[in-house]
């Protein structure tokens, strides 16, 4: 079973054999992908899984012929679509095949749609290119496909521009474009990665449903094993441009003996929280009461747009405790963090640091408290000043508080060891480090202030899953070592389950549920929490257990 490249019914829509694509000179390796063989049969969903740099997207774009020809050149192997070799056909024929026989949807539905063209026109364009329909026929067909992807009120939406739609609706439009001509092959490149978890669940359902109804072959690219468990018939694992393993979804998820696959799967955090002793002792070191933040203003004519990003938010964190704030985009979770660090000024309520209200303090008045609260941001590539050495970044804070330079450097060297990096690295610049390493440096910078409270604002969200696990482990380790109160902000329920003592769920600026992690996950009280947990992809599979068990 593990080595079967044949699909269920023997006839393959797509047949990639020993494909090798070269990278331009001066890249870190010679080939983007090497000796890759993949086949996809009628009505089959094949997931290609891998971390960044695995070559999964290059594979997809090579099939579509969308790679820049001067940079990524297929140098060996073949690609057959319905037994037609698409590496050999003319540009004209390839253009015909795109849209008619194969179609693609992308990660960012906002940027993948032309912002100055109505969505209806963008769907109709597909028909205009490949069919001889009259404009009236096209209009009818567009409405039909829009209905097919469950878009509400197609007659009204047909004249909308992309920015007027939600992320999920945009992705549905993309799918409508791709499926307008009922292609044999649909390539989906991380189509749900940019979406919220509840939207992701809907889009995955839609793809499954359409694939069933039309019998489309689907090549589905993802980094998320939860999504794989949800949607795949067969799985191909890629790493550094090579296929590491392929097999059926059941085999790969639960029986695989390939070490890399097992490492990836075991890094996926479990949705079941581990047992943690509740922390009840002591006064809260961080507390907010009735925290309010409103963005936007009423405008000159009273018609401005107002977003209530934080509405009466109340939270408490004790020393040694991790409070998780969970929510989708627009829930206000990051606003709460930024109010506490006073990167934005709250409109009302109290922010108490060890009993002192800092919500109304001026930027000057807040400086003494800056030592106590530190924050780690999401984007490891923008969190460190590229022009300053790692050491300079770490000692900046302590030196603001009159610590001598030599003392600050000694402390920085010690912290580098704490976060698992060599102290020699202090003289290096951020670009010499990987994303995970940079996130460790950011943690060291925060710790250099000897804070009481550490806020992690989506601090592991931008990292590959294997690196994510390591950074999570580090965060938990420093919490224990320094007896920190941690406010952990995330959109990812799996991550939150692993690290948080208590969970707070936010929606549209309001706290909808709060409680010990285990009880929130086992017995969610609020409808929205239930919805979130249900939407988590691959919730039936416990990855950690699957591999070790």
């Amino acid at each position: 079973m593990a080595n079967s490249t044949k699909s269920k019914n023997g006839e393959n829509v797509l047949e990639i054999k020993n494909l090798t694509v070269s990278l331009p000179k001066g890249a870190d390796r010679e080939f983007a992908i090497e000796d890759v063989s993949i086949s996809i049969g009628v009505g089959e969903i094949v997931c290609i899984v891998g971390e960044s740099g695995s070559g999964k997207s290059v594979t997809a774009q090579t099939v579509m012929g969308l790679n820049p020809p001067d940079q990524l050149k297929p140098v060996a192997g073949s690609i057959h679509l319905n037994n037609e070799s698409i590496l050999d056909v003319s540009q004209e024929r390839l253009r015909q095949l795109r849209g008619e026989r194969m179609a693609m949807i992308f990660q960012e539905p906002m940027t993948a749609l032309n912002p100055v063209m109505t969505v209806g026109d963008q769907i109709a364009e597909m028909l205009e290119i490949h069919t001889n329909m009259s404009s009236g026929e096209r209009y009818k067909k567009v409405l039909e496909v829009m209905e097919d992807v469950n878009l509400p009120d197609p007659k009204k939406m047909i004249d909308s521009y992309p920015h007027q739609l939600s992320g999920g609706q945009r992705q549905r439009i993309m799918i409508a474009i791709a499926l307008a001509l009922e292609p044999d092959l649909l390539i989906a490149d991380e189509p749900t990665t940019a979406l919220d978890v509840t939207t992701q669940a809907q889009i995955l359902d839609l793809i499954k449903d359409i694939q069933k109804r039309h019998g489309t072959a689907v090549m589905f690219i993802t980094h998320d094993f939860g999504v794989v468990a949800e949607i795949a018939d067969r799985v191909i694992v890629m790493r550094n441009g090579h296929v590491v393993e392929h097999g059926t979804v059941d085999y790969v998820l639960s029986e695989s003996t390939e070490p890399y696959t097992r490492m990836l799967i075991s890094s996926v955090p479990s949705l079941t929280p581990p047992k943690r002793e509740p922390i009840i002792k002591g006064e809260p070191i961080l507390e907010t009461r009735g925290l309010e933040k409103i963005y936007g203003s009423l405008g000159l004519f009273g018609r401005g747009r107002v977003v209530h990003a934080a509405n009466q938010v109340k939270l408490e964190v004790r020393r040694g405790e991790t409070l998780g704030v969970v929510g989708e985009s627009g829930s206000g979770k990051s606003t709460v963090a930024r109010c506490i660090v006073r990167l934005v000024d709250p409109n009302g309520g109290e922010v108490l640091i060890d009993g002192n209200d800092i919500a109304g303090l001026s930027q000057k008045g807040i400086r003494p408290f800056r030592k106590d609260v530190q924050i780690v941001f999401q984007d490891p590539y923008r969190s460190l000043n590229p022009r300053r050495t790692v050491g300079q970044s770490i000692i900046e804070g302590p030196m603001n508080f009159k610590v001598s330079k030599s003392e600050a450097i000694d402390r920085a060297a010690e912290l580098m060891r704490v976060v698992g990096l060599s102290p020699d690295a202090l003289d290096r610049f951020p670009h010499q480090f990987s994303g995970g390493q940079r996130q460790r440096i950011c943690i060291a910078r925060a710790l250099a202030m000897e804070p009481e409270i550490l806020i992690a604002d989506e601090a592991v969200s931008a990292l590959d899953v294997s690196v994510q696990a390591q950074v999570l482990e580090l965060l938990d380790q420093v919490r224990q070592e320094f007896d920190l109160a941690v406010l952990f902000i995330t959109h990812d329920l799996r991550v939150a389950a692993q690290i948080c003592d208590r969970i707070m769920v936010m929606k549209l600026g309001e706290v909808v549920e709060e409680g010990p992690t285990a009880s929130v996950y086992a017995d969610p009280q609020h409808e929205y929490t239930k919805l979130l947990l249900d939407a988590a992809p691959g919730r039936e599979v416990d990855f950690t257990a699957a591999v070790t068990g």
Binding site: Q96, F106, N114, P115, M117, L300, R303
Partner: protein, 313 residues
């Protein structure tokens, strides 16, 4: 939409006030008696007393400013003591050639530059791209009066294809009007061709990296339609912006070009007024040019709303 338009029109007011203050202060902060400077060298002491009275020079600065702006708003731009005429009547006489030259130039520049820039972007790195970029850097570097004289020398003196200098009003026949406008417009358009071609190339290149271009190609759309329907349409906003900024350079260029080709427009009027130290005329012309610049950019902002549905108010 209407709210936005009203807001945008109102936002012109502070800019024009700043311009008026600058123009007003330029004269008042210069050492010497403003009345004497305005009256010019040929004025009598009676003239000076009359100006002093009309401009309220005995009053505080703020009131003087108010009087000056008030006069302008009622269409009274003052009197030229140099020409012994009202400034507004002189401007009315000279406005035609300038409008003709500027309009002709900008149309010519767009017709040449936008296709050039688009092709250069599409063929990025090719010899064509290099040639367009090379020509554009030269276009930036050679001043308009040098280009003007080179054209006069080549096409008028040596080849005798065009008249050396001069202007003919459109009323005296459209043929002669256009015939005499060709060289000045061509000379003046060089820098705009350079500017607009470059901006077009840059913004089309930027757009070509966007995901929706990949989507369009994934649909199987022909390259020519990818360029026009998706790329150029999205690149339009920065191109139109640069045309707006170019209006300021255009006005400066008009002054020089009119001087080189001896065209009796507002540019030569400005230079004559400066040389004749005819300050009421100079002040009025600067105000006029600035208002034109601000208004054209206002119109461009409104055009944005047609080009890009994302711009909301």
């Amino acid at each position: 939409m209407l709210t936005y338009l009203i807001k945008r029109v109102l936002s012109v007011i502070p800019v024009l006030i700043v311009v008026a203050v600058i123009v007003f202060l330029m004269l008042r902060l210069t050492p010497g008696d403003p009345a004497a400077i305005i009256a010019g060298d040929a004025a009598t002491s009676q003239d000076i007393a009359q100006i002093r009275d009309k401009l309220g020079l005995e009053e505080p600065m703020v009131i003087q400013f108010g009087i000056w702006v008030g006069n302008m708003l009622t269409g009274d731009f003052g009197d030229s003591f140099y020409y012994k005429r009202t400034v507004s009547s002189m401007i009315a006489d000279r406005v035609g050639p300038t409008v003709a030259l500027a309009t002709f130039t900008i149309i010519l520049a767009c017709i040449v530059a936008i296709p050039l820039g688009t092709i250069a972007a599409y063929k990025q790195g090719s010899w064509l791209d290099r040639a367009v970029m090379g020509m554009s850097v030269i276009g930036f570097s050679v001043p308009v009066f040098v280009i003007g004289y080179m054209m006069i020398y080549l096409f008028a003196v040596k080849l005798d294809w065009f008249p050396v200098q001069g202007y003919q009003p459109i009323a005296d026949g459209i043929g002669g009007f256009l015939y005499r406008l060709v060289m000045p417009s061509a000379a003046l358009s060089i820098i705009f061709i350079a500017l607009i071609a470059r901006m077009t190339r840059t913004s089309v290149l930027e757009v070509l990296n966007e995901d929706y271009i990949r989507t369009a190609r994934a649909k199987g759309l022909e390259e020519s339609k990818v360029m026009t329907r998706h790329a150029l349409r999205n690149a339009a906003v920065p191109i139109v912006t640069v045309i707006g900024f170019a209006i300021a350079i255009l006005i400066g260029g008009v002054v020089v070009t009119e001087s080189v080709f001896v065209i009796p427009g507002l540019g030569t009027l400005t230079l004559d007024a400066i040389q004749g130290r005819d300050y009421p005329t100079v002040q009025a012309l600067i105000m006029l040019f600035s208002v034109v610049y601000v208004l054209i950019n206002l119109v461009i902002d409104v055009i944005y709303t047609l080009l890009d549905p994302r711009i909301r108010y």
